[in-house]
């Protein structure tokens, strides 16, 4: 983004902020739907059981750690490409 002057950078950071909110929302929707699909397998009840609830939280934790690790490797590989 070196081609942006200071004024442009200010305006771009506003655009970026709106985009980040949208991306975060999308990530949370993907997380919810993915963990629902993987953990909620029983429809003999309309309440989430203890096992399902534990599965959901493990799924969410793992999802964040996975995303974070991919992010680190992504940044490293990108940096290598830039050299």
């Amino acid at each position: 983004m070196e081609y942006l002057n200071q004024k442009e950078q200010e305006q771009f950071s506003q655009v970026l902020e709106a985009k980040q909110i949208k991306d975060y929302t999308n990530m949370m929707f993907n997380l919810s739907q993915g963990c629902f699909n993987d953990c909620i397998l029983d429809f003999t009840s309309s309440k989430i059981g203890e096992k399902e609830s534990a599965c959901l939280t493990r799924c969410a934790d793992k999802f964040f750690k996975h995303t974070q690790r991919v992010g680190q490797r992504f940044a490293e590989n990108n940096a290598k490409l830039m050299q």
């Binding site: 929707f29 629902f36 429809f43 009840s45 959901l56």
Partner: protein, 90 residues
């Protein structure tokens, strides 16, 4: 309320309000669409033997929607807990 054209008459449109309302609807529709998709996979059996929902499918859909809402609640509470653990002590 309008009185001799005073009041309601000089309302102005704030584009941010429109955008906010639009966003609200978009989020709702997105959640609904994902629910439709997930519960179809969970509850509707292929091959399609009849045009109506069977009793079993109907009950499954009701529970699926309830559990989808519950999932948001469970995950929301969990995220809040994580957030608090990571927050610096006051």
């Amino acid at each position: 309320m309008s009185f001799f054209g005073i009041g309601r008459g000089n309302q102005s449109v704030n584009p941010q309000n429109i955008a906010l309302a639009e966003q609200e609807v978009e989020l709702s529709v997105e959640i609904f669409n994902r629910m439709v998709s997930s519960c179809h996979k969970k509850c509707i059996a292929t091959p399609y033997k009849e045009a109506d929902l069977t009793k079993g499918e109907s009950v499954c859909i009701d529970r699926c929607v309830a559990k989808y809402f519950d999932t948001s609640k469970v995950l929301g509470e969990h995220l809040k807990k994580i957030g608090e653990q990571n927050a610096p002590p006051q």
